[in-house]
Amino acid sequence: MKPVALLVLTAALLVPRPGPAQTTLTGAGATFPNIIYQDWILTYNKAHPDVRLNYQSIGSGGGIRQFSDGTVDFGASDAPMTDSAIAAIGGNVLHIPTVLGGDVATYNLPGVTATLRFTPDLLADIFLGRVTKWSDARVAAVNPGVRLPDQDIVVVHRSDGSGTTFIWTDYLSKVSPEWAQRVGRGTSVNWPVGLGGKGNEGVTALVKQTPGALGYVELGYALANGLPAASIRNKAGTFVAPTLESITAAAASAMRAMGPNTDFRVSITDPEGARAYPIASFTWLLLHRQYRDAEKARALVAFVWWAVTDGQARAGPLGYAPLPRELRPWIEAQLKAITADGKPVWPTAAR
């Protein structure tokens, strides 16, 4: 009799007690904003324990695929979806920018302590393999007073596909017609010259280990690791150093070209604006225009709105540039378009 009683008691204790109704949202995609997204998810869950979010950083390509297949509720990408990809899902996607990132040109020149400066065409020609030595006259012309060694420029790029490469090649395509025609823009391109490193870490390791190297890494990465960062001349003619402020300024300047009905599928590299850093970009969350589950859609919209408003304060300390405040009404307009079962989700989500 006793063992039976024990068994019944244990079973009773193990029966799950009914708790508050939980909404679970899953997302997948870009690796670049993974750190801030995980931080947002953790913070949001503390304030709203009934909403559980899960984000897997499997890469932009995987994110777009899973979002299109409907495996996840939202996707994330460092590059906007192409027209054909959008047509494949019947236009059922919204691009919501969340934070800004930028690429930093980092280098390894033993004996040179000054911050180097580059012009757009010089950067393009270095990456095309036309300028091969640090002692080249064009490099010296832009860096007066800096004693440059007679060393080969060892170009270092990413061997894996990434949004960082997309931003870099997008910028070079805009400032160099030869680059646009020969190489183009993409998360993975046919590099004319250079060694390939895997991930930001790989590029950093190669640059640090190779005297004379010049590579590009994500801004947050460069800030966290104290890497030397070159100043780049922007469209207005000013040499701008990559900082969180200069990248936010890039988005603010690009707003003039966007307009309030923008779908945010814009590139903000090489913008106008005196203080704008030229190699910056949004990273986007991909949401459906029409959802089937109203509860999930409401929770998702509430989270995204929190992320682009209150959540922006958490971006800076983690190395991401926050969105300019002027963007909020435009994002709100986009979020209002989301419906579930034909009914807009927005009014009930805003708190």
């Binding site: 499997i58 890469g59 932009s60 390509g61 995987g62 777009i64 590059a79 192409t82 990809a85 080969d152 060892v154 061997s159 894996d160 596909g161 990434s162 190489v183 183009g184 823009r185 993409g186 998360t187 993975s188 391109v189 046919n190 590099w191 250079g194 060694l195 390939g196 490193g197 895997k198 790989g202 390791a205 190669l206 280990q209 190779t210 190297a213």
Partner: protein, 335 residues
């Protein structure tokens, strides 16, 4: 010969023994046996089925790229995801070159270690050295990569490449600037990684050679080294070739350590000092962010090519072992 006046020993008549069981007759004895046999057959067929499923899956996913590029894929060098043009020649050449060069570097070293441990080492030294060599096999691939980037490449740049250039600079193999990440660094890392596999198996093979072979050689006047070289090694050559092929198989598929030191450049060249690419490294690098279906399909096709090459190498190894082992008594047992 005189016949001994003894009674013939009593021998049990054949009829007293029960008839020898016929194995075939036992096949249908009971349901339990039939079930057992069926279960074992199922499990045994599972592995070839898995292999076929893998090949089928690769083929199905690679089909768009196969149809688009055809056999051109194997000999064109352009890998352009933006334009949608893919050619795997640099990767194929890089994989084969790095693996074969690694083999050339590793086999003498590994065989030397195996011979030392099996024949010449003092008894107290054998276990520790064998343990250390096998420990090399336990080190994760990424750690090798890190060591390659931070230790090997600076060493090569400062101490190995200048004398190499001085000695062999006139050959096409040592040309061009050395930036660290190169085919040479990749091959050296692979060599270090496959030495323990070849050494461990070779040592077992050499230890399995019967002492009579050595004794016979020594009896004919051979020195210790001559005995090893003429009697022991030829006896175990089937197993030694098998060990080498094991190492080659590992080298062909190695991904992480290679991608960190080989430079990841889609280029074919004669020089060992220039960066290169391997198939496994390319797949690992580009798979997760491949956005277009054609890019993904091309990567699957690279995987299919690697699969076929590995199968071909293993089939060739089997053939080689069979032919080499035909002459030795150990031939049938070495397999």
């Amino acid at each position: 010969m005189t016949a001994l006046p003894l009674e013939p020993l009593p021998v049990a008549p054949e009829a007293a023994l029960p008839p020898a069981p016929r194995w075939r007759g036992l096949r249908e004895v009971n349901a339990g046996d039939r079930l057992y046999r069926a279960a074992l057959t199922g499990v045994a067929l599972l592995l070839p089925a898995l292999l076929a499923a893998l090949a089928g899956g690769l083929l199905a996913s690679a089909w768009p790229a196969l149809r688009r590029f055809g056999p051109r894929f194997l000999w064109t060098s352009v890998w352009d995801p933006v334009a949608g043009v893919f050619g795997a020649a640099p990767m194929i050449v890089g994989t084969l070159a790095s693996s074969l060069l690694a083999l050339v570097l590793a086999v003498p070293l590994a065989l030397g270690v195996a011979i030392f441990l099996a024949e010449f080492a003092p008894r107290w030294l054998r276990q520790p050295v064998a343990f250390l060599v096998e420990l090399l096999a336990a080190i994760p691939s990424v750690v090798y990569g890190l060591w390659g980037v931070f230790v090997l490449i600076p060493l090569l740049r400062s101490y190995a490449v200048p004398p190499l250039r001085a000695a062999l600079g006139w050959t096409p193999f040592v040309q061009g600037a050395f930036y660290g990440s190169s085919l040479l660094a990749g091959a050296i890392i692979l060599a270090v990684m496959i030495v323990p596999y070849i050494a461990a198996v070779s040592r077992e093979v050499l230890l399995a050679v019967p002492p009579s072979q050595r004794e016979a050689a020594v009896a004919l006047g051979a020195t210790r080294w001559e005995a090893v070289w003429t009697a022991v090694i030829p006896y175990g050559r089937a197993g030694l070739i098998g060990a080498t092929i094991l190492g080659l198989g590992r080298a062909l598929g190695e991904t992480m350590a290679v991608t960190m030191v080989i430079g990841n450049r889609h280029d074919i060249g004669w020089s060992l000092l220039q960066p290169a690419y391997t198939m496994a490294a390319a797949i690992a690098n580009e798979f997760s962010e491949a956005t277009t279906n054609l890019h993904l399909s091309a990567l699957f096709e690279v995987g299919l090519v690697l699969f076929v090459i590995t199968l071909a190498v293993n089939a060739f190894a089997r053939l080689l072992i069979w032919r080499v082992a035909r002459g030795t008594a150990a031939g049938s047992r070495a397999l």
